[in-house]
């Protein structure tokens, strides 16, 4: 900030505002100091005609006050060689005499001491505007840790963390993060639940820094949050539910490679920066900006490691099929983010099936256990088919749609086995559903099939969903805006 300070003329300058009884009180003193040419300039913050003197200078823009970090009015600065060498704040007859090096301040009948008022340039309501205009270029409040504070502990103490350490969001890091997106820092991209707060690009960037993101991940984080904070996706519900679900995020398109995402071995696990931090940035934003914290509006009974942030990329290059985004009509050059309301992943082992039909049956069996084996249709699922499983289907010439349809067909259950009380278990469907059949997953959208994982292992992974449809959450895909 120091280098941007407007140069001031050598001598003494004062800062005042009309809306300050102390400044009003000392107008006769200011008049005397003007006439005797002790004062060079009086910067006035709220009324260019106060005090009505030839050396009064309009600082209603607050630029000079802000850049000289004036906190109180009146303040006197002593300027040498264009820079401040000393200051005194408030009004004290004795202090001013000593500071100015004179014995006569003019009228002697003025109250000798008055503390002054807050400078308009530190008005909390104006901080955002002033910071952006004259300061750091960012609107967010600066939080200064005490010299004895450990910055990492200080961030924990303020409740900003999900439990893992955070990168301190210094102005330099946040500015570097903001450079990762072409969007303006003050653009409001969403209204974030549960507190329904306007979410700016800048606040996303701060949380993305803390999560450990690189600037080039920021467009993904922003688009993910735009998607999360829609009525259809219903982030409020996902947060507030007792179920262990969060926004499961997967990425399609060239950006997967350009930001170095993992779609192969251990794609759902640790070890890749983009996979590990993008989802975390989304969750930290919801926590810190939206106010969604566990034990408060977040009522999850058990929660899930996925709630730290679960994000991965589809393996498009190794897939025998078009990508998920291409299935939706996006081109191979478009980047998309998909949000699915889901819990943590679970693997389905099948090391023996060789024909596509028996593998489809097997995978259906694996999915039937999601949520509860006796509950059907209300919860969608993701199935991440591993390369070795995918090749069983591909070698037989099965399309992805065919695989999807066959798995859903093989998940069809006799409802007599699902109704309440069946199998000695009260949980289940209401009696009215008896005597029929129903699939585990709703046809035409109940199952998302993706390709991903390491080359070795006859496994796939499933991610169980939350309540689907208008009553709960509808999974969403959006093109990533750079």
């Amino acid at each position: 900030m120091g280098n941007n300070r407007p140069k001031l003329a050598n001598g003494f300058v004062a800062f005042v505002k009309k809306d300050c009884p102390t400044c009003e009180l000392i107008v006769p003193v200011l008049e005397h100091l003007t006439e005797s040419q002790v004062l060079r300039t009086i910067f006035t913050q709220d009324d260019p005609s106060f005090p009505n003197l030839p050396i009064t200078s309009d600082d209603t823009s607050l630029e000079v006050s802000f850049l000289h970090e004036i906190e109180t009015v009146p303040t006197l600065l002593k300027i040498q060689d264009g820079v401040e060498v000393d200051r005194t704040v408030g009004w004290s007859q004795e202090t001013w005499k000593a500071f100015l090096g004179i014995d006569n301040l003019g009228p002697g009948n003025i109250r000798p001491y008055s503390p002054g008022c807050g400078s308009l340039s530190v008005d909390p309501d104006l901080q955002g505007i002033l910071q952006k205009k004259y300061g750091s270029g960012v609107a967010s409040r600066e939080v200064v840790f005490a010299s004895a504070e450990d910055e990492f502990e200080a961030m924990y103490d303020r409740g900003w963390s999900d439990g893992l350490p955070l990168i301190p969001p210094t102005i330099e890091r946040v500015k570097a993060m903001l450079a990762g997106s072409e969007r303006r820092p003050d653009e409001v991209i969403a209204v974030v639940p549960p507190n329904l707060v306007d979410l700016t690009v800048e606040k996303v960037a701060i949380n993305a820094v803390m999560a450990g993101c690189k600037p080039e991940y920021l467009p993904v984080v922003i688009t993910a949050l735009e998607t999360a904070c829609t009525d259809q996706f219903n982030m409020h519900g996902l947060l507030a539910t007792t179920m262990p679900v969060g926004p499961v995020i997967f990425i399609n398109g060239p950006i997967r490679k350009s930001i170095g995402m993992n779609s192969g071995m251990n794609l759902l696990g640790q070890g890749n920066r983009a996979n590990s931090t993008i989802g975390r940035a989304v969750q930290l934003t919801i926590r810190n900006v939206g106010g969604g914290r566990p034990g408060e509006v977040d009522r999850a009974t058990h929660g899930s490691p996925a709630k730290y942030g679960l994000c991965f990329a589809e393996d498009e290059e190794g897939s025998p099929w078009p990508s998920y985004a291409q299935d939706l009509g996006f081109s191979a050059n478009q980047n998309t983010v998909t949000l699915f309301p889901g819990e943590g992943p679970r693997m389905i082992v099948d090391q023996l099936s060789r024909s596509p039909d028996e593998l489809a049956r097997s995978l259906a069996k694996g999915i039937i256990g999601n949520i509860h084996p006796k509950l059907v249709m209300g919860f969608d699922a993701i199935l991440i088919i591993g390369p070795e499983h995918a090749s069983r289907f591909a070698e037989a010439g099965w399309t992805k749609d065919q695989v999807n349809e066959e798995i859903i067909n093989h998940s069809i259950r006799e409802t007599d086995e699902l109704i309440r009380g069946a199998d000695g278990i009260s949980e289940g469907l209401p009696e009215v559903f008896a005597g029929s059949t129903l699939p585990k997953l709703r046809p035409g959208g109940g199952l998302i099939i993706l390709h991903g994982g390491g080359a070795a292992g006859l496994f796939s992974a499933t991610i169980g969903g939350w309540i689907t449809g208008d009553k709960g959450s509808i999974y969403q895909t959006r093109e990533i805006t750079l």
């Binding site: 910055e151 900003w160 409020h236 519900g237 009553k471």
Partner: protein, 92 residues
């Protein structure tokens, strides 16, 4: 070393609001019962309704479209302008 960071929160201070005045009697009061659409919430509220009516209250029943989302603004407005008090019922 002094570190300065940018505030990651919404920087808002919650507004303090007084609780609505408690009603002193059920006799002649209009009580809203809000079903949040969870299974068996209706069973619970039917019982609450009959108990309130025995004590002289008039009961108006409301239902949220889904328990997963906050009550729509219009519904909240209707309840607040129609009722002296409201009971929101969970279930399961």
């Amino acid at each position: 070393m002094t570190t300065s960071v940018l505030d990651p929160t919404d920087e808002q201070t919650p507004e303090h609001r007084e609780r609505a005045k408690r009603i002193s009697t059920l006799e002649g009061a209009t009580i809203g019962l809000l079903d949040i659409s969870k299974p068996r919430g209706d069973v619970f509220l039917d019982t609450v309704q009959s108990l309130l009516e025995q004590k002289g209250a008039t009961v108006v029943r409301y239902i949220k479209p889904t328990f997963t989302k906050p009550a729509p603004v219009d519904l909240r407005h209707e309840i607040s302008t129609t009722c002296d008090a409201v009971i929101e019922a969970l279930a399961d």
